[in-house]
Amino acid sequence: MNDWARHLIIAPIILPIAVCAVLLAFNERRRALKRLLSLGTAAALVVISAALVWQVVGAGDASSSTPHVYLLGDWPAPFGIVLVADRLSALMVLLTSVLGFTALFYAVARWERSGPRFHVLFLLLLAGVNGAFLTGDIFNLFVFFEVLLAASYGLILHGAGQERTKASLPYITINIAASLLFLIGVAMIYAVTGTLNMAELAIRISRVPSQDLMLLEAGAAILGIAFLVKAGIWPLSFWLPRTYAAAAPPVAAIFAIMTKVGIYVILRLSSLVFAENSGGATGFADDWLVWAGFATMTYGTLGILATRKLTGIAGHYVMVSSGTLLAAMGMSGEALTAALLFYLVSSTLAVGALYLIIEPVERNADEDDLVAGIAEPVFDDEYTGAVTEEENEIGVVIPGTIAILGGGFIFCTLLLAGLPPLSGFIAKFAIIDALFAGSVIAPTAWLLIALIILSGLATLISMTRAGIDLLWTPGEDSPASLSIIEVAPIGLLLAACLALMVFAGPVYLYMEGTAAALSDRALYIDAVLGMPSTGGKSP
């Protein structure tokens, strides 16, 4: 591997942060420049993360893989901080980049103008999320969590308005409290094992003496609660639907990946640290995950049925998808892990597309409400009020609004409800198939299957009802205008889901390879701890 390829792994973190610094230097009014820079960065991130996936897979061979390790500051592994790109991390970074690019693209149509420094915050969020996926150190994970949270605090307030401010207070408070729990958990784990490096932790955990085991598990549980808050697990999730509903649509779309950060960390830690051969801590809290997942799915399903607003449906769907992932994760098994990864990718893209399509659909139903909520400046230097004045700048208006919106909406519905032939169906089918794999099927597996099917049904009912309300009832109003810039990103996301369906074979092979790599802990541990430092040579 040549030198440049070796440094590729840090690019998804460094690049957005560097561009942020550049963007801050320019005045808010130089919109075209900012737009160009940040969209270019987001596009570059897609290319970089695709290259990263390619690199990790080992240039074409879908079955073998070695994690790529990058020593920050060139300190060898247990002492310095490492970045690790294995198949799972690379996949998550790619997913983030695709979602980030489309959401940013969508924001260019109008939302970037409803508040200051949108692009900076957005790129910072991407940097934080990518960092959380790539890091191999628990405390560094905390730092990246804080980066992404700080950016999300700014983004949730983007567009100002009373509703957003009211929703952001509980959101920020609960996340700061969760961060404190994160710190307590990290401190307890460090106190028992004496390391923060995930690979080293995986080795040391099997040697923890039995009298310290309880302390370690308490620490891990407190740490887990911090992630479960992020993942939106019942009963820690009451902030989620309201916050996501209040956020600006492109922000809500990128927030769809944030719940998955919590899921990712739990998957990583449970497969690496609390896997088999971990001594007394083997399979720690698996039952809890299963039942918390069930409770979340039930609550989310009821929420989907009970709410009439599309944003509410989307928010509760995020919870259902988190619950499904957690419950499946708690049951563990290689086939199931592959299936849940496929479900994770498919549902994240679908929810992102739904959040983007909600706004044009609702605008279509009621044009006046929308603009009212924006443009209330809180600080002097904010640049607001441009939205209403420059309506014609949105771009070429395309005809057949209803046809396009309706088509996209049906597409989203099929994806979310998990109906054939789209990727949502393949994902759910794979999970159910994996659950049926054993000779004896556990009662919890039946319960999970029932909940998956019921939540799909509830989604279908609610989405159809909302579609009839908003789209397919003939009204006297002429259809609202829709610009290409708004349609293109939605189309891109849906096309990505379509590609997931068409190329389900190769994608699924990748997921199976990922699941196999996750269950083979030695692969990760050896790669991280065996990485030699370059010893003062300039890279």
């Binding site: 405390f139 905390f142 730092v143 804080e146 949270l149 700080a150 605090y153 307030l157 100002a160 308005g161 009373q162 401010t165 009211k166 952001s168 207070l169 509980p170 920020i172 408070t173 700061i176 409290a177 961060s179 404190l180 710190l183 307590i184 990290v186 401190a187 307890m188 460090y190 106190a191 923060l196 209330e376 809180v378």
Partner: protein, 112 residues
């Protein structure tokens, strides 16, 4: 010394939690501050308590037993900076919320 530190952490946590569940936004902010102090002390305690032992290791051959574990101290430093920044941000949101809703209740509206 352990007992004093444990009492301090306990008192801070209890006061912080009590304030966190109060209905006024400023009380909540103060509660989070107290909680973060408690957590910072807790991290220091996690690195084992020692007096008169420096965390910075000198050059050359040194006896590690003469030094206190530097990692928790570095963690505390990071945690202090981050909680300071997020608290400042929360204060700004608090002011914006107060300005927009006209009340300092955490729900943005007074109890009926």
């Amino acid at each position: 010394m352990e007992a004093v530190l444990a009492l301090a952490i306990g008192t801070l946590t209890a006061s912080g939690l009590w304030l966190l569940f109060r209905p006024r936004t400023f009380q909540v902010v103060l509660g989070l501050c107290l909680l973060s102090y408690a957590v910072n002390l807790f991290i220091v305690a996690a690195g084992r308590l020692r007096t008169d032992a420096p965390p910075i290791v000198g050059r050359g051959d040194v006896d590690p037993a003469q030094f206190v574990d530097p990692v928790p101290q570095a963690l505390v430093l990071t945690a202090i900076v981050i909680s300071f920044a997020t608290t400042a941000l929360l204060l700004v949101v608090l002011l914006a919320s107060r300005g927009l809703t006209g009340t300092d209740h955490v729900d943005g509206e007074e109890d009926q």
